[in-house]
């Protein structure tokens, strides 16, 4: 009878505590994820039997012009959303970090949208964007003698219009992370730079940004996933949550939702989920590779 070492005992206890979240993740996360792969190969309307149809769902999907529009929209959200939101949040965090007066209040102001429910916010913005006589933005433009914008009723302006509140809502989170990153940079680096006579721009590009690399990697990955999964804003800001006009704002997740819960085509919805999964995986792996490489 050999006595267990302390290390062994610790490991056992660690596993005991981990068992609950582990079971949860397996049942609620991993199992459905894997199941989605098998459902994507079937024709299933939620009730009734699943019928195996091979890759038919994917064939139908790739031949559907709307799917390509939707995929294009999804990437548009990503390509516009990530750089704009990161740039804005970095600038705000950079200057917010340098002020002391009203610092806490300002930070709270930026953070509040992140805490607000997306649905309520989307509806408020939906009304902002209305044409005259009720839309706040267009009323203001009218006062200045500027022609009104179509916003949500335009096939070109609708997507950026929907994206704006999404960026705004996520800003608070990104600012807080950036500020934590800025604070973590040792003061001595800046002091040394000062002694060497480096200017503000040089300090920013030579010290601040390189030191923030892990923070930037984290935010790029997280916000990319966020913009690729955009749903609440589109669902609540477009007529009947259709992602219109003419599918101009419809992202992949909304398309999945419509297939699953409007048309009850669970197989088709699962197939799209698989596509989304692959996109997320490829992009994330790519970003981690490129951004993390050793200098």
């Amino acid at each position: 009878m050999s006595k267990r070492t302390i290390a062994q005992k610790r490991a056992i206890w660690a596993w005991v505590f981990m068992a609950v979240p582990l079971v949860y993740f397996i049942l609620v996360r991993f199992y459905p994820t894997l199941d989605a792969f098998s459902i994507s190969l079937t024709d299933w309307n939620i009730v009734g039997e699943k019928r195996y149809i091979g890759f038919d769902n994917f064939v139908v999907l790739f031949n559907d012009p709307v799917f390509w529009v939707v995929l294009g929209n999804t990437f548009e959200y990503l390509i516009l959303g990530v750089p704009i939101s990161l740039l804005l949040s970095f600038i705000i965090a950079y200057y917010l970090d340098q002020i002391r007066f009203g610092h806490g209040f300002l930070r709270a102001c930026y953070f509040i949208p992140f805490l607000t429910t997306a649905v309520a916010m989307a509806w408020v913005w939906r009304w902002f964007y209305q044409p005259v006589p009720i839309g706040m933005i267009n009323l203001a433009l009218g006062q200045l003698g500027i022609a009104q914008f179509e916003f949500l009723r335009s096939t070109t302006q609708a997507l950026p219009a929907v994206l704006a509140p999404a960026i705004w809502a996520g800003l608070g989170f990104q600012i807080v992370i950036f500020m934590a990153g800025l604070r973590a940079i040792p003061k001595t680096y800046y002091e040394a730079a000062k002694v060497d006579g480096a200017g503000a721009w040089q300090t920013l590009t030579e010290i601040t940004l390189p030191q923030l690399r892990p923070t930037i990697v984290f935010l790029v990955v997280i916000s990319s996933i966020g913009f690729l999964r955009i749903f609440d804003q589109v669902y609540n800001m477009t007529q009947e949550g259709e992602g219109g006009p003419l599918n101009a704002t419809r992202p992949l997740v909304l398309h999945i939702y419509k297939a699953a819960f409007d048309d009850f085509e669970m197989g088709m919805a699962a197939a799209q989920t698989v596509v989304l999964f692959l996109i997320l995986m490829v992009i994330t792996v790519f970003q981690l590779r490129v951004l993390r490489h050793d200098r």
Partner: protein, 433 residues
């Protein structure tokens, strides 16, 4: 001794009978839930041996919940569904046919409005409505007066509708519409107005007799959609989705005329008083070429495949009760939805009612659309208008695309129905053996 045995026997009988408990499901809608609670109370008072459990779910989850529960052998015995879902529910085996003994076909066909015929499949009726809905034209009397029109005379024809709309529209100096002559919301009720009313009034039909082929891609359909799109593109009396939703613009007094269903009555009645109180009237839809038409939709109640034996008998009794003339009158008074039985609808005080009257009169010539997928088919009309208004496409071209999209939806659904029927048949044969 014999008395005691009898007493015990009776007691056993009543407890056994008391055990009949059935479940009723509908989606959450305040006035309907309250009305149904009252109907259940009345039903239970008449049938002390039956208890009805009433359950409701938000509209968004309702269909999924019913499908999942019945598939698992749980959930409702009597269920409410939208008429357009019937084919889905039959394919999924959720409903059982209504027995001829309790619901004789001759009685249904004589006493209910003819559109209930679409609840018949393969010689059996599967569900019956308590209430039906139709469309009508709402007009704002105050705006009529301000524009120099007689506030008591709404437009009677489609030509008058255009003429009135032009007079009733107001714009700011920049030319933006600040008061719409007529609301335009293809995603709300206008798609129904176009499909079942305008197309017919211009001499066409939306679909063929067995509802398998789109028929509106012709001269009549084109003229009908041109008429509709012109409000936005030519007459400029309307902005699509003005103030987000037509009913909101109308209620805010920013739209002079609005076409909507009877379900909007309760929304309009909840207006604040005071000087700016909304003064409105409601009239039958304008006619054209002497043709009147209307669109009707309804919610029905059916018995699920899960109910059998005693529960089935109780479910039948309950369904009979909630589709009785008495229940319908109560429903009209409380919920504001129109009676599905002609005799109730045609009562003088209902037919001439200042609010319900126009809707009830519209039922005489109303058509229903047998949707295969309401949201997808609706979207074809919404997109058809957007291509014209936003992208400047011609009506011809846009209509052809919409007709093709609609036809694709129908074809896909028909294949599915055929497959489901074949699957059912093969399992049916094996269980007989």
């Amino acid at each position: 001794m014999r008395g005691l045995v009898c007493a015990i026997f009776c007691l056993m009988m009543t407890t056994a009978a008391n055990a009949v408990e059935i479940e009723y499901w509908q989606y959450s809608y305040k006035t309907r839930i309250d009305a149904m609670e009252k109907l259940i109370e009345a039903f239970e008072a008449e049938n002390p041996d039956i208890t009805v459990t009433h359950n409701n779910f938000p509209y968004a989850q309702y269909r999924t919940k019913v499908a999942a529960a019945v598939a698992a052998g749980e959930g409702p015995d009597v269920v409410q569904l939208y008429y357009g879902w019937l084919h889905d529910y039959l394919a999924a085996g959720i409903l059982q046919p209504l027995s001829q003994e309790s619901f004789p076909h001759s009685e249904i066909e004589q006493e209910f409005f003819p559109m209930v015929g679409s609840m018949k499949s393969g010689g059996d009726y599967y569900a019956l409505p308590t209430a039906v809905r139709s469309l009508a034209l709402f007009w704002n009397k105050k705006i009529f007066r301000e524009a120099g029109l007689d506030p008591e005379v709404p437009p009677k024809t489609l030509d008058e509708l255009v003429e009135f709309a032009k007079k009733l529209t107001q714009r700011d100096p920049a030319g933006n519409i600040t008061q719409a002559g007529l609301t335009m919301g293809p995603i709300n009720q206008d798609h129904n107005w176009w499909r079942e009313v305008l197309v017919r009034q211009f001499g066409g039909v939306p679909y063929n007799a067995d509802n398998s082929k789109v028929m509106y891609d012709d001269e009549a359909g084109r003229a009908a959609f041109q008429y509709y799109a012109d409000f936005a593109t030519r007459h400029k009396t309307s902005v699509v989705d003005f103030m987000d939703k037509g009913e909101i613009a109308f209620k805010a007094g920013r739209a002079a005329m609005h076409i909507d269903g009877s379900f909007v009555l309760s929304f309009l009645k909840r207006t604040r008083g005071g000087r700016n109180r909304l003064e409105w009237g409601v009239a039958e839809l304008p006619e054209h070429n002497g043709i009147k038409s209307n669109f009707s939709s309804y919610w029905v109640n059916g018995i699920t495949s899960k109910a059998s034996g005693e529960k089935k008998l109780a479910a039948e009794k309950f369904l009979k009760f909630i589709t009785s003339p008495r229940a319908m009158q109560y429903w009209l008074d409380q919920v504001g939805e129109l009676p599905a039985r002609k005799a109730v609808a045609y009562r003088d005080d209902n037919r001439n009612h200042p609010e319900f009257g126009a809707f009830i009169r519209g039922l005489d010539y109303a058509h229903t659309t047998l949707f295969y997928s309401e949201s997808a088919q609706r979207k074809t009309v919404v997109d058809m208008l957007d291509r014209i208004v936003l992208n400047g496409m011609s009506v011809d071209e846009s209509l052809a695309i919409a007709a093709q999209e609609d036809q694709n939806i129908i074809d896909a659904a028909l294949i599915e129905i055929r497959e489901a029927a074949a699957a059912k048949e093969s399992t049916g044969v094996s269980s007989d053996e």
